[in-house]
Symmetry: C2
């Protein structure tokens, strides 16, 4: 190649080289190692290799690009534009050929390793590199004089045309192979799965010619209470649909330990729960595909994250060992299985399942997924990441190391075991403020934009209860308004000066809203509700403190609240309650469903699987169940915000009234010192 041949410069990579006139841009890109996508291998079918040529003077690059620097539109491009429409200024990289010096921009969507921008701006984008990819190949026709199987010639084509190493195929693919090759006239598209860290691939699907239908993956966060799934396009990582349903195992027990007990009491109970959750997952897969308008048989990958008990029950492993010390997992490593092994019978028959590794007997693949999404191991400052749910997963760490534990918060944060509690759904009070002078509440209801005291708050709003974030705000507001003392005791009407503090037996309850006139409930916060929240928040705080002890610190730099519910918690209220350690309020971030995001990362990026497996090995696990200090932290955390730890950052924002409603002003006898239930 001499300097006489045209210069091709790619942006944004800046890669450049000289190529003979007539070289397709895709070819030039491949030779230079430019990240330009193609599925059809340069046949002008897939349109993945779209590029944007730039004309004019480019002093920075030292070239002038003249009209005619690329070949004219050819028939393939014209047809593509006619049928599907090509964005203005775009060319197909496989069709446009070099005629003169040219600057070629590769738009983000044309990169193989394109980045998927996530909602939370604080987190890094996902780089696309899924384990399952679609490629189109030309296969050599059979020759009886040099006989070889069709599969072997497909393997040769994958090697020669896509540099994909040894491949295997299971029976569903072997059955489909010969008709597809002949129908496609020896051109087929194949879905190729390469497990992380492997150099052997498996063909999961085959289609005649170019497969228009795409490949899809399912990222599932299998929680004790809810199952949430994202359906992703494996070519670009887009979430096409998200869906969720209740975990049907709830009928066997609300929390994990009651499910383990169910197995102990009912031989075969594990098989019942396994069948229930497998069936639910299969239904969810079909429903989400239907919602997105795709064929469920095009789902070729599934990534599931869940806690250890869910993990074992999903796989059909008796979880009884997880219910007693030393809490031994049957397997802690990541698993790559056939999805059909866990009853996913309505997606692709060859679909693969990847389960993230578990961190310990009480710290599951969901915590690993949070670690993958939030990357505490790369944090410069010391981050405390709390995935709030029926069970809280807690991670503490920075580049010097990461610690993890789980803590049994119980279902109170999700609105369960609360007198007027309900799941976050229309009609639920989700935010609340209490006037410190009048002690009157105002609130917002899910599904209504206005606050309850706004003029445009609809008079006919159905108010059905209070959800998890609502109860946290209510308790914190009650504390701030002087209706609740540090021990968690609600004051009487006399002591607080508001008739909303109603006597209920020997204790009091605060009335937020009386909806009985419209057939609704009386929404109150009872003394029992306060106790339930105290138990939950004490468990959470004690878990965090235990990790801080292990790390030898008394404060953290920032707090990340994760979990579907964590995203809705007000940092200030969480801190008034003493759920989380004291940090500046602007250092409390919300990460949304970090476990689900972690699942999606593992779905879209093969290397992330290797990475999390290594990270998990390095995480220091702390077992809350047997740490004597956990109990001590738990008792001290029972006060609101805390009996002994100062909250100086909180004090800068909020001054808590110094009230006391008990005989002695100390915590009453029904306080949270005794925890019988181990986990939620």
């Amino acid at each position: 190649m001499t300097d006489q041949t045209p210069l091709v410069i790619f942006t944004p990579s800046g890669k450049r080289g000289h190529f003979p006139v007539g070289t397709p841009i895709l070819t030039a890109a491949r030779q230079l190692g430019v990240d330009l996508d193609s599925v059809c291998g340069g046949r002008g079918i897939c349109s993945k290799c779209q590029i944007a040529p730039a004309y004019g003077d480019f002093p920075k690059h030292g070239v002038t690009v003249r009209d005619g620097a690329l070949s004219d539109w050819n028939e393939v491009e014209a047809r593509y534009d006619r049928v599907r429409g090509l964005k203005k200024g775009r060319r197909l990289g496989c069709q446009a050929k070099v005629e003169g010096d040219i600057v070629v921009d590769v738009p983000p969507e044309s990169q193989v390793h394109k980045q998927v921008v996530r909602k939370a701006a604080s987190t890094k984008p996902i780089v696309m590199d899924p384990a399952t990819k679609l490629v189109m190949i030309d296969v050599v026709e059979p020759d009886m004089h040099s006989p070889s199987g069709d599969l072997e010639r497909v393997a040769d084509a994958l090697q020669a045309q896509w540099d994909i190493g040894p491949v295997t195929a299971r029976l569903p693919v072997l059955k489909a192979l010969q008709p597809a090759l002949r129908k496609g006239k020896w051109q087929v598209s194949v879905a190729v799965h390469t497990p992380a860290g492997s150099d052997t691939s498996q063909i999961l699907g085959v289609w005649p010619g170019f497969h228009e239908g795409g490949l899809y993956g399912l990222a599932v966060d299998l929680g004790s209470t809810t199952i949430a799934a994202h359906l992703c396009d494996l070519s670009d990582g887009r979430v096409l649909a998200s869906s969720g349903l209740m975990n049907p195992q709830i009928r066997f027990g609300e929390d994990l330990m009651s499910r383990v007990s169910y197995v102990m009491m009912n031989p075969g109970g594990d098989a019942e729960m396994t069948a229930a959750v497998q069936e639910a997952l299969n239904t969810l897969a079909v429903d989400i595909a239907t919602e997105a308008g795709i064929d469920p048989a095009l789902i070729f990958e599934t990534v599931i994250v869940c806690n250890p008990v869910m993990h074992h029950l999903l796989l059909g492993i008796d979880p009884v060992e997880l219910g007693q010390a030393p809490f031994a997992l049957a397997t802690s490593g990541s698993l790559t299985l056939d999805a059909r092994d866990i009853g996913l019978s309505d997606i692709a028959p060859t679909a693969q399942l990847y389960l993230l590794p578990c961190i310990a007997g009480h710290v599951g693949a969901d915590a690993a997924a949070v670690a993958l999404a939030e990357e505490p191991n790369t944090s410069q400052d010391l981050a405390l990441i709390v995935d709030v749910g029926t069970n809280a997963e807690i991670l503490l760490g920075d580049t010097n190391g990461v610690l993890a534990c789980s803590s049994p918060t119980g279902p109170a944060f999700e609105g369960a075991q609360i007198s007027a509690g309900q799941r976050a759904a229309p009609g639920a009070i989700e935010r609340i403020e209490i006037d410190p002078v009048t002690k009157e509440p105002r609130f917002r209801v899910i599904g209504v934009d206005a606050w309850s005291d706004d003029a445009d708050f609809p008079a006919d709003t159905q108010i059905t209860g209070i959800c998890g974030s609502g109860i946290i705000e209510a308790v914190a507001e009650m504390r701030m308004a002087g209706l609740l003392d540090a021990s968690g005791l609600i004051g009487s009407a006399e002591a607080t000066g508001t008739a909303r503090c109603e006597p209920t037996g020997r204790t009091h309850a605060y009335l937020i809203h009386d909806a009985t006139a419209t057939g609704g409930p009386r929404v109150t916060v009872t003394q029992g509700d306060i106790r339930a929240i105290q138990l939950a928040k004490s468990a959470l705080y004690a878990g965090a403190r235990l990790l801080m002890d292990q790390r030898g610190v008394t404060k953290v730099d920032r707090v990340v609240l994760a979990g579907a519910f964590g995203a809705h918690i007000s940092p200030k209220h969480a801190m008034v309650l003493g759920m989380i350690p004291d940090v500046p309020l602007d250092k409390v971030q919300s990460a949304g469903n970090a476990a689900g995001h972690g699942a999606r990362i593992a779905l879209c990026n093969r290397a992330a699987r290797t990475s999390i497996e290594a990270i998990v090995r390095d995480i220091h696990k702390v077992e809350t169940a047997v740490e004597p200090r956990f109990q001590e932290h738990f008792v001290n955390a029972n006060a609101i915000p805390h009996a002994t730890d100062p909250f100086p950052e909180l004090a800068q924002v909020v001054t808590l009234p110094n009230v006391a409603f008990g005989a002695s002003g100390s915590a009453p006898g029904d306080g949270g010192g005794r925890r019988r239930r181990r986990r939620g």
Copy 2:
């Protein structure tokens, strides 16, 4: 180690070394790399490490072994002897410890890579090295402070105690793992499968403590007509039971091409045939295990060999491409699958299936198995190996290279399409001689030792027909006795001088035996029978000749007759018939069921799998269907023994009468020149 420590010499290996007093013999053997077996890892349970110490003067080795050179019997040995009995002079290698210079003989059955002696003395023994092995391990108990899964600690134990690399486990094993570990008090036996050429193993089974039940494998020769299976002990290769059944696909078509036609005519017909053969295999597996008195769930490996059409129908692949040029296989490589994938649902749920590679579209895994058993590639002289069945697999080769083809002989050699033909079973005439002077026959019947003209031949013998080897001898004897001319025409009673040559329409038949008096058939050889045999033998000979053409030779050094039927063919009669090329009679060997033997080798020896995959790649495939010379060879081979090829070796043994019964003495119009059916 100084020369002061005792010297331990192992025989027959001759390996020697000095070891401190108190070293167990098993430990010494392992350190020296002596091939001494052990499953329990030295716990005195499995008795696989039995050794025979030798005492006295050994000038050859330069040592004198004194009494007391080994430690006294300990309790473990005493208990073992009490419960199971230890052969006189034997010790347990893991219990007997070095006390002085000692010579230790390792008997053949105590070697890991023990040799399995096969019946045919001409063939090499199988060296035991199965893909699935049983080992016993001590597993570290779980520790919640350094949590890891039970599987991960099992993997650590396999690595440390048996040098077995990374392992995986599927759900059935994960489910069984925790109970087994606890029941076995952290001592378990595991069945570990390591595919040929892989460094990753899979745990297929787990048992508490020492697993007494053994591991078993099934070697299956899946033929068009019959399915034959050997159940082997994977520890020593012993055949515990052999069983066979008819291929139920026969109801869809007698030969391969009629089955392919059935699929073409009946959409879904392939699925019917797949279900039929899979069900038959599962039944066979259970039956053979029952016969051997073992639990079918202890069958962990299955090796199947079969022709390409059977191969595809077994796997559920539509075989239609095999029915037309270019006879493309869906896959030609070897396959390792889960046995449950082909419906083997009653053996171990994790059982593995290995299918040998196919050589070409018409030359299957059965031919590959014959190549593995007979090793033409290592033959110093040029060997022609013929696996005679409904379809004949033919291999020609020596160390300079191997050629292969298949030839559609049809079912005549198996007694089908023969007027009095029947399968080889009691009552069938299997051997026959015809007196050249009197033209009277004498014969032997399956199930009776005496010849028919012996005094002690039971008068009440039920004679039901004539089997494959019987019809071959009959035709050859008729030719030698002058009842049949070279063109294949049977002479009349007048021309031959015997009333046994009866007119039947325009042709004649030779009466072997009239059993009508006892309610049996009239067993005759008709002109149609002769034609069927001529078609079959011409196809066989033409295939062999085609390979000889390709190799550029007109004679071979030796002929091996393989196949269940091949073992029963008399070499002289086969040569009179012109089934096989002319060689000295003592150069015609019988190899028994070589395909089945090949399957057994692949079952017992992992390296054989890698080896046959390489051999198959090097075999030169010849497609008889499209070779013009095949037709020419076929026509010339129609004469008995041959129209043009001289048979000088045969002539030294047999002088064939120069008779001619046709008008011109040449082949009549109904001769075998036209072959419509492609394959059998």
